[in-house]
């Protein structure tokens, strides 16, 4: 398939929190995002080099998890093409919404597992003023050095009971490519890593083991260096944040990672992929077998149980 990217990039994720104030404090003071604005139920946050108004919409909610996942189209025409493809696909559509503080009208639709997606083109660029103004005009806002200070949103990981079906959804609706995947011995797809541009992935989907619906596995921001992640581990430790696993390197995608749980229980990651990019237009998906997965992470770390079971919102599940 020739990559003619109608969709430009993962734009933002709406995360639900039932401990809104604690979650907001975590993302601002510890994780190191900045606040672009707030409305009645949501705070709009971004990393220092995210060019849009927000990449995280944190919403006060009765539970945790993901509200919606947004991608920005490459042009108005590309947006139309995508909307037509989605309407023709038979997947559930929710129609156009007005957008919010961060962007204009957006078209909403759902995957078969209940996650809501939206695509839009008209956006609100973040305009750095005052002490947000950077010394160098080619970054979106000042490097503030607060908290873990990731540079930009990187990817989101969702849970689905049928990853192969989720893959069809992503290819049909967004034109995403699969760069890596897990093939289980039982013939099922254990996980899929998708990209819409030159990143190794901007969305991952792994198999739901908790009988939950529309669940979030984690949301990730990218740091410039691996040292930033080692420092982040110290910052999480000093702030009493639950470090679930890491820092270590994933065999899949080769990402250097660190996973923590924000105060409401949503899993968030900091990741660094070094200089890796997927530039080959004819990249063939890398397929990992269960046997290969048994070797653990890149350097041998065992994957801990909660990583297979914990998602948000929580569901009744032994071991979770």
């Amino acid at each position: 398939m020739e990559p003619c990217f109608d969709i430009a990039h993962l734009a933002h994720v709406e995360m639900y929190s039932n401990k809104f104030e604690e979650s907001l404090d975590f993302f601002l003071r510890v994780y190191g995002l900045t606040l672009s604005g707030q409305d009645e139920n949501s705070a709009y946050l971004r990393a220092w080099d995210d060019y849009e108004f927000h990449t995280l919409k944190l919403t006060r909610h009765h539970t945790t998890g993901v509200g919606h996942i947004a991608y920005r189209a490459s042009s108005p025409e590309a947006l139309d093409r995508r909307v037509n493809a989605i309407m023709a696909s038979g997947y559930k559509t929710l129609g156009w919404v007005d957008g919010d503080l961060g962007h204009g009208r957006a078209f909403r639709f759902q995957d078969p597992f209940g996650h809501t997606f939206e695509i839009y083109y008209d956006t609100v660029r973040f305009t750095a003023t005052g002490d947000q103004k950077p010394a160098l005009k080619n970054i979106a806002s000042r490097f503030h050095g607060h908290g873990c200070h990731p540079r930009r949103i990187d990817h989101v990981n969702l849970l689905a009971s049928d990853v192969a079906e989720f893959r069809r959804f992503m290819e049909t609706c967004l034109g995403s490519r699969v760069t890596e995947m897990i093939a289980l011995d039982n013939g099922r797809v254990g996980g899929c890593w998708f990209t819409i541009n030159n990143k190794g992935y901007d969305l991952a989907c792994t198999e739901e083991h908790g009988r939950g619906a529309a669940r979030l596995h984690h949301l990730t921001y990218a740091t410039d260096t691996r040292e930033d992640i080692l420092r982040a581990a110290d910052i999480f430790l000093e702030n009493g944040v639950h470090i679930e696993t890491g820092p270590h390197k994933h065999a899949i995608q080769g990402t250097f990672f660190l996973y923590v749980w924000e105060p409401a229980g949503n899993r968030v990651e900091l990741a660094n992929a070094g200089a890796r990019l997927i530039l080959a237009p004819d990249w063939e998906p890398v397929i990992w077998t269960e046997g290969e997965r048994r070797k653990g992470q890149a350097w041998g770390l065992r994957t801990i149980e909660t990583f297979h079971t914990h998602g948000t919102p929580p569901v009744q599940f032994k071991g979770d």
Copy 2:
């Protein structure tokens, strides 16, 4: 402009050396590339995660400089589209060539300043065997840790007497986008940074001050971390390589850089851009004025004279 990338990425650069053996030894033992193959006059080299057979074609020649610059198209159809656009453009074309050890038939053309470009789709993927086989199947070959061990080719910087005209050439022939540029007080364009994908740039063109033609300013490979570049500085120092400037951070593109001269005099760089990507489909070129440039590099380093004057092949120029 909507990015529908007919061209996938910068593929390889042919560099001329009039000290072939010394240059080859430098690139293999010190710079840390590996040898994929050789023919009568050329050695084919790649970084450990370059997926193609080669990204550097080092050719024995009576002088130094650049032989040709190659881009890979996104598909056979995209290649045809580009060839038609180039033939319609009026720029000088050299027609189809058979390709070499590293790829199939390629279409060649020239910019108005004498640099030869080629585009192709059919390629030779590097197949890692024996002790080149990586422990993790999602990288192109084993991480060998030899020399400075950059991960992949990053960009090339050419010299042209009229950068504005060079920009028209890049936009017309390759569909490249300008991400950053220098606007001189005299109204001329001092430099342009181009990209064909989500990298900040894969080719830069700066103004020729040496009355030379078709000259190379430098060729660059990307490292995973800035620490790799600090280590590389020690390795260059211990191997008696001329370190021209760096390590330091460019204000333009925010690249952490280190420039050295390989034994024949061609300037080569190691660079790391952290997690920076150009994801905005409607990115507006960042324009740097002469006044802003006077501040030096990002952290204040003065740009040294040879950086403005030294290119290959050399020309008579006071100060060079």
Copy 3:
């Protein structure tokens, strides 16, 4: 000479500022020290892993420069031995002072160039309470991640018109060892690096070219990594701090360095020496010639003019 260390370590430096509020804001918010206490004219600051109450005493003064340099003795007996050696030395003594918020009685004396030194044993250990309490009990206080967050005081660099004479003073009064030095072609000593323990140096003295007396060249804190220093450069840049030179690596001592001027003009450095220690009891001073110095810093950076001329307090000097 057998190292039987009567003196344990460089303890603190008193720095004068004629812009006290700006200097204090710089050291707390940008440089990343924390405030232990204040009295009428001074603020007492420390890095997050400094075990004493303070390592920087910042004092409101009519000019800039250094107030005094303090070393802590290894024991009460060692303190007595040193005091006797100093009194017998003929160097100017100022007698015992009561100490301040940070330590008990101290014995004061002066080098022939007007710098005031003090040695003491009784100290005030920093006791971390509340949100200064670290998650790990083997560090002196919480890793806060604010500003450039150096780990501990590292060294101070003084100016003297006769470095050879200054060396006699250090060996006689403190029992310091010279680890590296500069031998000028004119037979004079251009600079000396002294240590009292296993660090490469805790005090350096370089030749005064400004006809000043009792001047400070710079004060330095140590970071855990070189990446911390690259990040610090971004933080200084974003905060409008004058970056004089660096980041780069000194040939002498191999220190990775970054020099800035705090708001009042005192030069401060951040440095990282990697895993280097001087463990050999019979270490012979490394002697650098003028010819070797002409190669510039480790990776070739030219030493800029102000580094040779700027000291505090300022003196009339062309080029300063």
Copy 4:
């Protein structure tokens, strides 16, 4: 206690290998030490900035483990003082030996658990010649960048059935200080970290759970950065070396660590302590309880079973 260091530093360790050629290949090609010389049964190895002829004596043996541990005294007089103290101590002495390729006469003695120690003053400094000669004269030999290229020997970890008794041995014979220790709920000492200079530790002793005698837990070299250790993990992975645990950060001593098993089964570590030094002459040992240890390593990593059971030479032990 006043530190008047008769002993200057840990000098070298003799490691036994029953797979000598494989072990030697590992230490030279993968771990990144260099060969200073060989005699009939031993190879003498050093890191690039170790100033002595060797810091690792690798000896062909019928089993694995540690041959002897050597410390260098601060002076001939200090050596005599130590020998007298040891002879008066009642601990088993083996008398003077002639030394080997790396140093002069040494006095040998044993701890109650069968480990052989030696102390000496006369040494053989490594003289860098030819392509070992560094570009900068203040390092012991060229930075070669081969393998994991640690900078210097750091520490050794021994196993003893009674750590409290081992502590008495270290304090009596070497004058070592305890910087950190583990106090078990059963009143026993689980582990002790000793230093003879300003390092956090140069020798650790942890409780023997394998009913073995004179066993080695691990030998460690220090890298300049944590990134060096992340890179080392890739190098170990690519070379099929068994990575036991890490990279991660120890709560005790705050060391960033990576443990692997060399081909014969001896555990070797790479470690980086950042800028941490023990400078306080009156440092009080940090005491960790079993409850605190249950939190795992600094960032929460569980300590894996083999770390408690595997030592060399191996003994019959369930779980080993």
